[in-house]
């Protein structure tokens, strides 16, 4: 079984790769996505693409639609119109498509959503055993390796409530990685953590990015975006206002609204 978290140097995930983006076929395409919650038009004609190995960070004010858009990528939210294609699979009401997409797309939530009645090890091995029919022994072995990579070997037989927030989120990341997804979605992974724990989670995410994982991260952590992102996407009122590499975005944003937003963030 190949190592899920590959720590070797990778050419993907650096700005140079982006330049040849036009020749590569996107892993994920979203075309003209619209969504309403009742009368509220929360996603307005959003179109974008994500490439293999890319780290895209989505930022914006609360209520701008960024989490909703992210959740559409694994059908936790449905889009009213438009087309989403992930690795060749069109995301629509067809359950087979949805399940196929969810096997390739992992998600990490703001509130961790660990299974409280299972130990850390069981949390990580549940999905591989049920979905991929891996044997318990093999799944345990793979899980131990993953948990070691995120620094939690000592806590393998503990229950989620016995762990700190940062540890729980790292378990959640390991749990998603256990399914060997092609893309990892992060929905404000550190928003529920206090500053001491944020670093340990961000470090895991940075390692993951450096190993070449395709990541789409909704976050308020600008430092992470500056350091690791290949592309920063700014959401405002349901639309993408600007998409640019971090140097451009943070150094020389064109849009007034973005400059105002950035100006409000301490450092």
């Amino acid at each position: 079984m190949e190592e899920p978290l590959n720590m070797t140097e990778s050419t993907v995930g650096n700005p140079a790769a982006l330049k040849s983006g036009a020749e590569r076929t996107p892993l994920i395409t979203a075309e003209n996505i619209n969504k309403h919650f009742g009368t509220a038009h929360v996603i307005k004609n959003v179109s974008t693409s994500f490439y293999q190995g890319e780290v895209a960070v989505i930022i914006g004010a609360s209520g701008s639609g960024k989490s909703t858009f992210l959740r559409m990528l694994n059908r936790l939210e449905t889009h009213d119109s438009g087309r989403i294609v992930i690795d060749g699979i069109e995301l629509n009401a067809d359950l087979k498509h949805i399940d196929a997409v969810r096997r390739e797309v992992g998600m990490v939530f703001q509130s961790f959503n660990l299974f409280p009645h299972l130990t850390v090890l069981d949390n990580v091995t549940l999905a591989p055993r049920r979905v991929r029919k891996t044997t318990r022994a093999a799944a345990n072995e793979a899980a131990q390796a993953l948990l070691a990579k995120v620094g939690l070997s000592a806590h393998v037989h503990k229950y989620p409530h016995q762990l700190s927030g940062g540890q729980q989120q790292r378990v959640a990341i390991a749990r998603s990685l256990a399914m060997q997804p092609k893309v990892m979605l992060f929905d404000e992974p550190t928003s529920a953590l206090d500053p001491e724990m944020i670093k340990e989670v961000l470090d895991v995410m940075k390692d993951l990015a450096r190993s070449g994982m395709t990541m789409i991260v909704v976050t308020h952590e600008m430092g992470f975006a500056r350091e690791v992102a290949d592309r920063v996407i700014f959401f405002e009122s349901g639309q993408i206002l600007e998409e640019a590499p971090p140097e451009t975005f943070f150094g020389n944003a064109q849009n007034e609204r973005i400059r105002a937003f950035l100006g409000q963030i301490a450092n």
Partner: protein, 235 residues
Amino acid sequence: MKEAFAFLPRSWSRERRSAVTIAIALLGAVVFLWLLAIPLSWMPDPIGPAAAQFAAGALCTVELTVAAGLIGIVIGLLAAFGKLSKVPPLRWVSNFYIWVIRGTPLLVQIYFVFFALPDLLPVQLSDFNSAVIALAMNVGAYNAEAIRAGILAVHKGQTEAARSLGLSPLQTFRDVIFPQSFRVALPSLVNNFVSLLKDSSLATLGKLSTGPGVDYRCRHLLGANHADDPNFGRA
């Protein structure tokens, strides 16, 4: 039972010791019921002389309760899922069932099963089966709401996480939702079971007017009118 739990070998896992303790307790309960007539016969009039009858009556109560209880759980599960279903007709049927049963007295439901159903159904039910059906239908409606409460109590994020990992709806329910919802629903379900134990006494008020029925269980106890029953008074 804590004592039994404590005396089992420490080397066994907690789950094994817990399961064995429950098995011992159940076995003890069955043996106690079986031999109930003996301690009862030591009691003063009027219980002593008729100890066998009282023991039989207790046994009958337990049989009714266990049978109706088990079926009631199944009915409760079906009605709970029905009420939570995305399919409107299923929701209507479940809602209607729960509303009617919870809105009418158990006695009325027992009378209905005993006195109205024989005319509506082609099949004749015995006294015992009629009682079980009436009681199960009743407790099932209350169980449905308890089970539904348990399911709704589980945070939506659990389902989202499970489905995001690729677990099917059935796998999500079995491995993630059910274990958590069970803890929430259990107190209410036990309450309902305890009420059922008492409510089973109302079954004595139902008696089929015609036919001996296939099932002779509890026949000397079910049926308010004992005058025409030649077996009344005999053990």
